[in-house]
């Protein structure tokens, strides 16, 4: 057991570092702090891997293959490196990591407020108050399922569900379903609900189309090998856009080779544009459907060009299957612009309209007007404060499990300097 591990049962009080959240990012931070013998505690509102336990639907699998499941000092050791972990497997993986690293986790300890306290922070929880010089926020990127303002205008006769409320298709009442959003979440839920026998209409705004398997290898192999995942936040063309990009249309499974809109429409789904309004019980969709699909098709093929360029110079070149290009997304010339929510055809709306972190407990003035923490690659504007585990935090891979290590090593190094010298 590390020195930090022995602190597990000490009472709340003064400590160098408080880490908020015992998911993969908080535990990875804890591991790196322990390596440096930096005294810290990890506060967890529920159990280790809480969001994976409570805020995911039943059939979800990781979007990254097992060979990519690595954390500082730890990696997947099973016999299916190309498989995708189910939720119980992810929970076990992260719990095993907490045990392996002997992380000083306080479970069932919910942070109710964080405020400035001298040159540090005061962290109030339901289990006492901590004072620390440095704070690492690892509380997750997906605490709140976001719904658009138009959700308020949906007739009360329609059932509505967010991904946090959805567990499986058995929850869905007989009848048609409108899935709003075509990111990984929207696509997976639309596919699953459609397979359970419901008529699906999917409202499609900007999205990222991506094959699961390309030239015989998993897409994550290509993203990694071509250097895309390692692209740094300060080198990305438009970081604001990169950080709010919808998650790619992937599912953690070997079939289908690509879960795209063509795949959904082959199985009977109807595509409509982005949901823009509801008037008199009639949903209104954007006429931009054709263009958002054209953009996604063009961007996917540009990304594949980048991968092919890398492949051509790779010593493994001969091992890859032939270059593939995909059919464009098929869009009806006269996609519907309206849909009645009163005639009984649609019984349920699923909001796959994104997630955001919850910082309602953070009483330090570091939030921008959109409620995001102002930070430079995870170094928050408030001295001694850090944030980890957000999309494109320091690299394109930042929000993936395997993307955590490089970020956390950079940030704990910065944090150690801060504790030594007090300079942000």
């Amino acid at each position: 057991m590390t020195d930090a591990g022995r602190d597990r049962f000490r009472p709340a009080g003064t400590i160098d570092v408080v880490v908020i959240g015992a998911g993969h990012a908080g535990l990875a931070t804890s591991y790196c702090l322990s390596e440096r013998s930096i005294e810290h505690v990890v506060l967890e509102r529920g159990e280790v891997a809480n969001s994976w336990r409570k805020e995911r639907w039943d059939s979800l699998t990781l979007l990254t293959p097992n060979w990519q499941s690595t954390l500082p000092g730890f990696r997947y050791s099973g016999d299916d490196p190309d498989g995708f972990m189910s939720m119980p497997e992810v929970i076990r993986f992260i719990s095993d990591y907490a045990d392996f690293s002997a992380a000083p986790v306080r479970t069932n300890t919910a942070v109710t407020s964080v405020r400035l306290n001298g040159d540090g922070y005061q962290v109030t929880t339901n289990e006492g108050t901590w004072r620390c010089r440095s704070l690492v926020i690892a509380s997750g990127a997906c605490n709140v399922a976001v719904t658009p303002a138009v959700a308020d205008a949906i007739p009360a006769t329609i059932n509505t569900l967010t991904p946090h409320e959805y567990h499986g298709p058995e929850q869905i009442e007989a009848g048609g379903v409108l899935v709003v959003g075509a990111s990984a979440t929207g696509m997976q839920l639309a596919d699953e609900i459609q397979r359970a026998g419901h008529d699906i209409t999917i409202a499609v705004g900007e999205h990222v189309r991506m094959p699961r398997t390309y030239r015989g290898r998993d897409i994550q192999f290509w993203l990694d090998a071509a250097g895309i995942l390692n692209e740094r936040y300060d080198e990305v063309d438009d970081i604001v856009r990169a950080r709010r990009l919808p998650s790619p249309q992937l599912v953690g499974a070997h079939e289908p080779a690509m879960l795209d809109l063509n795949n959904l429409t082959d199985n009977g789904a109807k595509l409509v544009g982005r949901l823009m309004g509801v008037r008199d019980g009639v949903a209104q969709f954007s006429g931009s459907l054709r263009n958002v699909c054209a953009l996604a098709d063009l961007k996917m093929h540009r990304m594949l060009d980048t991968m092919d360029e890398w492949a051509a110079t790779s010593p493994q070149a001969s091992q890859f299957e032939a270059i593939e290009r995909y059919e464009r997304t098929r869009v009806d010339a006269s996609a519907d612009l309206t849909l009645s929510l009163k005639d009984g055809a649609i019984r349920t709306i699923v909001w796959a309209t994104g997630f955001r972190p919850d910082y309602s407990w953070l009483d330090v003035p570091v939030l921008d007007r959109k409620g995001r923490i102002r930070h430079d690659g995870g170094v928050a504007e408030s001295p001694g404060m850090y944030v980890v585990g957000l999309p494109v935090l320091r690299r394109r891979k930042s929000s993936f499990i395997h993307g955590t290590e490089d970020d956390v090593r950079d940030l704990t190094s910065h944090l150690a300097d801060y504790l030594d010298h007090g300079v942000a």
């Binding site: 900007e206 544009g273 823009m276 309004g277 008037r279 209104q284 954007s286 006429g287 931009s288 263009n291 958002v292 054209a294 953009l295 063009l298 961007k299 093929h301 540009r302 010339a333 006269s334 007007r369």
Partner: protein, 187 residues
């Protein structure tokens, strides 16, 4: 994309646009614009609309001169045809907006344009306007825009230009998405 070494010139000052984007990110109040037009009825279906002043960057602004536009209906509607029909003006607005976007995006992406020509077609069943059939929509059923673009770029890059221009086009947004319209009247 290095601006300093680029010889591409589509006549768009991209540096100024990027500067404005940065400045308005820091001061989003300045990004709130109000566009205005006035309209005077002449005779029959003929009206003359004008634009000159608008509000933006926190203060009143002006075009370098007033522009005016005659709208009317063609003779087959028993009108005097003293100008474009208002629905054609919508196509003019869409074409102007998309084409400006293409030039700006091309400049930003270092693509030299040689010529850009657009042809627009909008289908309409006038049973809607005439109130013959309540199931027929009054406005356009469908708008088709066709671009012929000659530029130093691949077909894919040109398609991406046109797609990006639609994404950023105000008029494209206005015609593809619902907008609340309030019409008030004084005697």
């Amino acid at each position: 994309m290095s601006e300093s070494t680029s010889t591409v010139d589509n006549g768009v000052n991209v540096a100024a646009l990027l500067e404005a984007r940065e400045a308005l990110t820091a001061a989003p109040e300045g990004a709130k614009f109000t566009w205005r037009a006035t309209c005077d009825w002449k005779e029959g279906t003929h009206s003359r609309s004008s634009v000159e002043g608008f509000f933006g960057l926190g203060e009143e602004q002006k075009h370098i001169t007033e522009y005016s536009f005659d709208t009317d209906h063609p003779e087959i509607f028993a009108s005097a045809d003293k100008g474009a029909t208002p629905v054609e003006m919508v196509l003019v607005g869409l074409a102007g907006c998309l084409t400006a976007g293409i030039a700006a995006v091309a400049q930003h992406r270092d693509i030299q344009l040689k010529s850009v020509k657009a042809t627009l077609e909008a289908a309409m069943d006038i049973q809607g306007i005439l109130g013959i059939d309540a199931d027929v929509r009054t406005g356009f059923d469908d708008i088709k825009v066709h671009y012929e673009i000659d530029a130093d770029a691949s077909q894919e890059d040109i398609e991406a230009l046109v797609a990006q221009s639609q994404k950023r086009s105000a008029v494209f947004d206005i015609v593809t998405n619902p907008t609340n319209v309030t019409v008030a009247v004084n005697k």
